[in-house]
């Protein structure tokens, strides 16, 4: 009996060592999924070596597939489980690593971890999150130099924006999302609020939204704030149209921003540039251009966009002009 126990203990020790060693090896197969998979995928695909390791991506029904197909042709032929697929479906891929947004941790993430799979979580809500998550991803795959390059790209552009000559009086900026029955403002902690501050504007709605998502504001409150510039987001249609609707609405005629025609549809291509997607840096540059046209007069948005797509996703000029510029929306220029 005692001999039996000894053998068992040895077996367990050997297996544990094997597991630990195996665990530390570089993952060869990756699956992306869960809600907000767009942001996660855009980060992962900024690492060229990782593109071929991705064996399945969920939720391509949101148009995700279109952009990444340009970046990595053949993307759309990968298996595409549903965005709301269950733990079992994901487990079926038996990937070395699953990468999700951190909001998936309690549900999908935990489920897979319990089954013994490895999961990497990304927050991706703020610039600091981006630095942290990109660095962690790089370290996991031994791609630290690429990670550093990406982080530096962001830092350089932020420095560029923050060093612009600012006007004497900082502009009062309002960012709203346009919907059928009103305008909504984002919470203080979201990317949009941070970007306005970084670009040298005053986010006048700060402190008014106690919630964790978009909150409606009525025209009266808008007029009490009376912003100098309004940036209008629309996730469903071209934001330029939404900006036009506001400019023509009788209720807003007396607003300073409307009088000076400083109501702009938020720049967008495949996704709106206000989102905490890798493109947020373009959103920042665009905001700076709109709220501080004098100081930012040397910034060429189209060129900046090309620089970003080229560096992050190896997109050549021809492809950029053909496939990405055509998707431009909002008052990008």
């Amino acid at each position: 009996m005692k001999a039996g126990f000894k053998v068992l203990a040895m077996l367990i020790i050997c297996l544990s060592i094997a597991v630990m060693l195996w665990g530390d090896a570089e993952p060869q197969t990756i699956v992306l999924g869960g809600k907000a998979v767009v942001m996660v995928a855009d980060v992962v695909y900024a690492f060229p070596e990782l593109r071929s390791k991705v064996i399945a991506v969920a939720g391509t029904d949101q148009g995700l597939g279109t952009f990444l197909e340009i970046v990595s042709p053949g993307f759309l032929s990968k298996p595409q489980p549903d965005r709301n697929a269950s733990v079992e479906t994901y487990a079926g891929y038996k990937a070395d690593l699953y990468i999700f947004k951190s909001t998936m941790k309690p549900s999908l993430g935990k489920g897979l971890e319990d089954l013994g799979f490895k999961v990497l979580y990304m927050d991706l809500e703020s610039p600091d999150d981006y630095y942290k998550d990109i660095t962690a991803l790089g370290r996991r795959f031994g791609l630290e130099s690429r990670a550093n390059a990406l982080v530096n790209f962001y830092r350089t552009k932020i420095a560029l924006v923050q060093n612009l000559k600012k006007p004497e009086r900082l502009p009062k900026v309002l960012v709203v999302q346009f919907s059928a029955d009103g305008l909504m403002v984002p919470p203080d902690t979201w990317m949009q609020t941070r970007m306005v501050a970084m670009a040298g504007g005053i986010p006048i709605w700060k402190g008014s939204n106690p919630g964790s998502s978009w909150a409606k504001v009525n025209p009266e409150q808008l007029m009490a704030w009376n912003p100098d510039v309004m940036l209008v987001i629309n996730y469903r249609e071209d934001a330029r149209g939404s900006a036009q609707k506001i400019l023509q609405d009788n209720a807003y005629k007396a607003l300073t921003a409307v009088k000076n025609s400083k109501v702009f549809g938020f720049a967008q291509d495949f996704y709106s540039w206000d989102q905490p997607d890798t493109r947020w840096i373009l959103g920042l540059l665009w905001i700076a251009k709109k709220i501080n046209p004098e100081g930012a007069k040397d910034i060429n948005i189209q060129e900046e966009a090309f620089a970003f797509y080229n560096f992050f996703y190896n997109i050549e000029r021809a492809v950029f002009n053909e496939k990405i510029v055509v998707k431009f929306g909002g008052d990008i220029e």
Binding site: A36, G182, K216, V217, P219, E220, Y235
Partner: protein
């Protein structure tokens, strides 16, 4: 011990009704001057005259919104009153037969399909009427109880199914683009109300209200025991359905622009009965007036308390609940004989 005020002579109730209406009108005018521009509080007459923007705000933003609130409150209260008498049950309102959920489902489908406002209105209407039809259809097939009991049971079933469908739509909606809009709408709100939005709902609801006012005495009759009512008016079942249909139509069109706003249709009829007794000749017009002022008050709180809007449904539920609990605890209304 019953502390209800002595039932007043009908003539005296009329006088009281006009006094209450006058007070309501004054309150509504006061609330129109209340808001967040230029600062939270009351807008003075002097400012109105001097600042062009203030006048613009009153005319283009607050007045249509107040009109929307008044219409919403009046229709919900009127429909709630009719439902309570038709079902001879003071605990129902016009959302009862799954009507609110039906209107909600229709509107959400319209939102997800990108319909215009007229389309939303149409689908809300269709949804509400379909729920009523489903409840009635199911009720006819239930094999026991009077018409009222059967409607109650089928109403519960239809409501639950529709709520589940709404949850399903929320689940499949895009969390970035569609879900916030749907969630916000479901909680009720009047921020999108402009004059154009109100024309069609006002017309339809107004028509329904006129007919219901004409039938107001018969509404009370339906609250009598079923056998008694049928012996006095042979077509009671048809009459019940007509009254329900009119109430539902009104509720549907206001739900289309305001979302699902609970409690107003439940609590205002109780307040009307408390002030004026159970006689529908007075309580039906009274619930219209009281409903209008209740909703005007709730909406003013919703748009003025914070810089961002509080969903209207939350305010009506809170305010309505508090009033309801106070009533239940302080006034021992004997509703049924042992």
């Amino acid at each position: 011990m019953n502390r209800l005020p002595e039932a007043k002579n009908f003539v005296l109730s009329k006088v009281k009704f006009f006094i209450v209406s006058g007070i309501a009108l004054a309150v509504i005018l006061f609330l129109t001057l209340w808001g967040r521009y230029p600062e939270p509080g009351l807008l003075g007459i002097r400012e109105l005259v001097s600042d062009e923007l203030s006048l613009r705000i009153i005319l283009l933003v607050r007045l249509p919104r107040m009109a929307g609130a008044i219409l919403l409150g009046a229709v919900l209260a009127l429909s709630g009153t009719v439902f309570q008498y038709v079902f001879a049950n003071p605990l129902v309102d016009s959302g009862f037969l799954g009507v609110s959920q039906g209107a909600g489902l229709g509107t959400i489908i319209a939102m997800l399909s990108g319909f215009s406002f007229a389309g939303m209105l149409g689908l809300a209407f269709a949804g509400a009427l379909l729920s009523l039809a489903a409840s009635v259809f199911l009720a006819k097939r239930i094999r026991f109880g009077g018409l009222v009991l059967r409607l109650v049971l089928s109403g519960i079933a239809v409501s639950s199914v529709l709520s589940a469908l709404i949850s399903l739509l929320k689940f499949t909606a895009d969390p970035l683009k569609e879900l916030p809009e749907i969630t916000y709408w479901l909680m009720g709100g009047l921020s999108g109300v402009r004059w154009q939005v109100l024309v069609l709902p006002a017309g339809i609801a107004g028509l329904c209200a006129v007919v219901l006012l004409a039938l107001r005495w018969k509404v009370g009759l339906l609250a009598m025991d079923d056998a008694v009512a049928k012996s006095l008016v042979p077509q009671t079942d048809k009459l019940r359905l007509v009254l329900l249909g009119l109430s539902v139509a009104g509720t549907a069109v206001v739900t289309a622009y305001a979302g699902i706003v609970p409690w107003a249709g439940l609590i205002v009829p109780h307040i009307a009965r408390l002030l004026f007794g159970a006689d529908t000749r007075i309580t039906i017009p009274a619930s219209i007036v009281l409903g209008a002022v209740f909703m005007a008050l709730c909406d003013t709180v919703a748009r003025s308390l914070f810089p961002v809007e509080i969903p209207l449904g939350i305010i009506t539920a809170l305010l309505g609940c508090i009033v309801f609990v106070i009533l239940l605890v302080t006034i021992p209304i004997k509703v049924e004989r042992a």
